[in-house]
Amino acid sequence: MSSTPPSSKLGSLDYAPALESKSSATIAAHYGLFIEGAFREASSSQSFSSINPATEEELTTISQANAADVDAAVASARKAYDSVWSKMPGAERGKYLYRIARIIQERSRELAVVETLDNGKPIRESRDVDVPTAAAHFFYYAGWADKLEHAGFGPSPRPLGVAGQIVPWNFPLLMAAWKLAPALATGNTCVLKPAETTSLSAMVLADILQQADLPPGVVNIITGDGSTGAALVAHPGVDKIAFTGSTGVGRQIQRSLATTTKHVTLELGGKGANIVFDDAPLDETVEGIIDGIFFNQGHVCCAGSRLLVQESIADDILARLLRRVDQLRVGDPMDKNTDVGAINSAEQLERIRVLANAGDEEGATRYTSSCELPKKGFWFAPTVFSNVAQTHRIAREEIFGPVLSVLTFRTPEEAIAKANNTTYGLACGVWSEKGSRTLWAAQRLRAGVVWANTYNRFDPTSPFGGVRESGFGREGGRHGLEGYLDV
């Protein structure tokens, strides 16, 4: 681990390193594929290494699943669907989900440590957000399992069958929970494919599923790169594909499914606008802007990566924002006082650099946090671009990193026009103390989610999803059941 403590310019109270202990998690030297309730080696015997992005040290090696393995996983899921899961009463399925939720809570420290080591996100976030929210999703959908006939989808809604679920690297465990919990509650069986760089928490989850005595084959977990995901999408035995990831891959998936009868839901990229009106609660707004873009290093599809500030308060907001950016503690993700951790991969770091450089070239004003960055690992200092124009690449393309683009507006109409002038439509934030103005804005924003005086809040009871190039289908809430029911 890097020995440099996270730096904070503000305050003479120097926080001593407060490292979370790694001892609560045991990481095996190698992980196989989880098929039919047991781990097994990939048929090709090939594996790839999983590294800690904060140190570039290898954590473990993981099996690379090929088409034959995907076939085995889908066959296992089909068998479990036909023989056990589709016949089981909802109340019984619910019991398994409750049990999984409780074990996630019991093993929360282990899961948080694994997630942070593997992903690079601060332990505070994996401990306080990822893991508890994952458990909450299982608890929530456990409650639906025996009440599906009251969900508004007809008297006896049927499951789809085998669901292929591909999750991204930004919230590995949480996204797996978002996918698995509603699918299992509605009676589907699953083949889950974690992202190549972040498979570890799914391996712990597999262990949890065993511990919960989930019948073999109800959930299968196959690891690997994009080819594994492509094989899963193309597999004829899959009835439904649920994908969270980039718009580019989402497009490929939709293209390959166009001639099939498979159901599909896509949760893709975004370029969320955080709109600040001049009557906003300033201090809380600044915190919300910070949460909106620096939470999880900005690796958030719904990140508030475009800040739209009303001209009359732009200077004030920007000064407060930059003061706060300098205060962010960047460094060792295992330190409990770290605010911003490591970028997940070298590849992603390069993408962030390219886009940030485009910001410079196009004439925006860059402000970089004065924090010191560790020598090893993948790091990008929190960055704010002001004087950004709507035409700049940094105002249009998803950066997926700790980079904020600040634009201004004069009238509410201009704010809406700018916010909607994107090919995406995942999330927006509106900051105002005036309720009528917030509702007026929310009605006009083309986005799946609009947050009022907050940002990046996730709750299992609330549906989440996008419009336009941010995808379709909803996860969470009653709406989240629909994607796994034959309705």
Partner: protein, 329 residues
């Protein structure tokens, strides 16, 4: 590639400096009302979320030692009971100067805080030390007396030698919108204080909303408070961290506008070191390091002192001692 905070300003020569010009900050009640009305609102959910997040800061080892000593040096060791005796105050003052007689490295506390009739006694005991004597005044804790009585109360405490006066605002006047009256009272008390420092108690438990706390904080600062203080400790809701956060934002912003640093005192209900350290984290990450000093941040407390001593001892030796190792007063 780095740029300064001000770089974004489009035309620097257009900046007009109104607020730092000399002269009275407030020239009429209408001006006062307009100034307070122009303050940005406080989003309660956001304030509480920020406080909850900062409560997860993990202050360990060397940082904890530093924080405990800092907190010790910020204590206004307080006794405000009808049953206060001369002996109790004498004991309190002795303890304030030398909190742990066996360990000279323990810093003395910032001040003792007593009723006006005990100021002379306290002053006599702490003579020659760095410990200040603070006195509550202005018909503490309710503030329900005529202006004449309030000023007499202050004058008595000041002439007895009080270094600091903790006044209460007229919450009835504030809540009923008589902001000018509250302002004038503070101005008059400030004048009666002479060289004594003035802490203005907002009694935030009675102001209820964060918006009121922000407004009252600015009102007190504009009227000349040296410190703004949360509570008397005599109503059911005393200091809370969200309220402290709003007040710390107020002093930070006031310093940005007027270039003058006002202190913050949190009082009532702070009993544990853990709680005290959480307040210090709030100070550190809101107002900043300049406020991490007894000149600008205080804890009004009594039982907190022994917990700080106990935690300090635990950090040094690795084991807890029994509570009777420390004196009760």
């Amino acid at each position: 590639m780095k740029s300064k905070v001000g770089d974004h300003a489009q035309s620097v020569d257009n900046v007009v400096t109104l607020v730092t010009s000399p002269g009275p900050r407030i020239d009429s009640e209408a001006h006062l009302v307009a100034t307070l009305k122009a303050l940005p609102g406080v989003d309660a959910v956001g304030v509480e979320a920020r406080v909850a997040k900062l409560a997860t800061r993990s202050i360990k080892t060397s940082a904890k030692k530093e924080a405990l000593d800092l907190a010790l040096s910020m204590v206004d060791l307080t006794t405000l009971e009808g049953a206060d005796t001369f002996q109790k105050v004498r004991s309190l003052c002795t303890k304030a100067m030398l909190p742990d007689p066996r360990d000279a490295s323990v810093p003395s506390v910032a001040a003792v805080c007593v009723y006006p009739d005990l100021v002379a006694l306290a002053k006599d005991v702490v003579k020659g030390s760095s410990v200040k004597v603070a006195s509550v005044a202005t018909a503490f804790p309710s503030g329900r007396a005529s202006m004449k009585v309030k000023l007499a109360d202050v004058e008595e405490a000041v002439s007895a030698g009080a270094d600091e006066i903790d006044m209460v605002i007229d919450r009835g006047a504030f809540l009923s919108g008589q902001l000018g009256r509250v302002y004038e009272e503070i101005v008059a008390v400030k004048e009666a204080c002479g060289t004594a420092h003035l802490k203005v108690i907002l009694e935030t438990g009675e102001l209820v909303t964060y918006d009121n706390v922000r407004k009252a904080s600015w009102l007190a600062m504009l009227a000349g408070a040296d410190f703004i203080k949360t509570s008397t400790g005599k109503v059911s809701v005393s200091a809370t961290r969200p309220v402290a956060l709003v007040m710390l934002e107020a002093v930070r912003d006031f310093a940005d506008v007027y270039g003058q640093k006002i202190g913050v005192k949190v009082a009532g209900g702070i009993r544990t070191s853990k709680d005290a350290i959480r307040y210090l984290v709030l100070v550190n990450e809101t107002a900043g390091s300049a406020w991490l000093s007894p000149d600008l941040f205080r804890f009004g407390a009594s039982s907190l002192l022994n917990d700080l001593l106990m935690q300090r001892q635990k950090l040094a030796s690795g084991v807890y001692v029994r509570s009777d190792e420390f004196s009760v007063d």
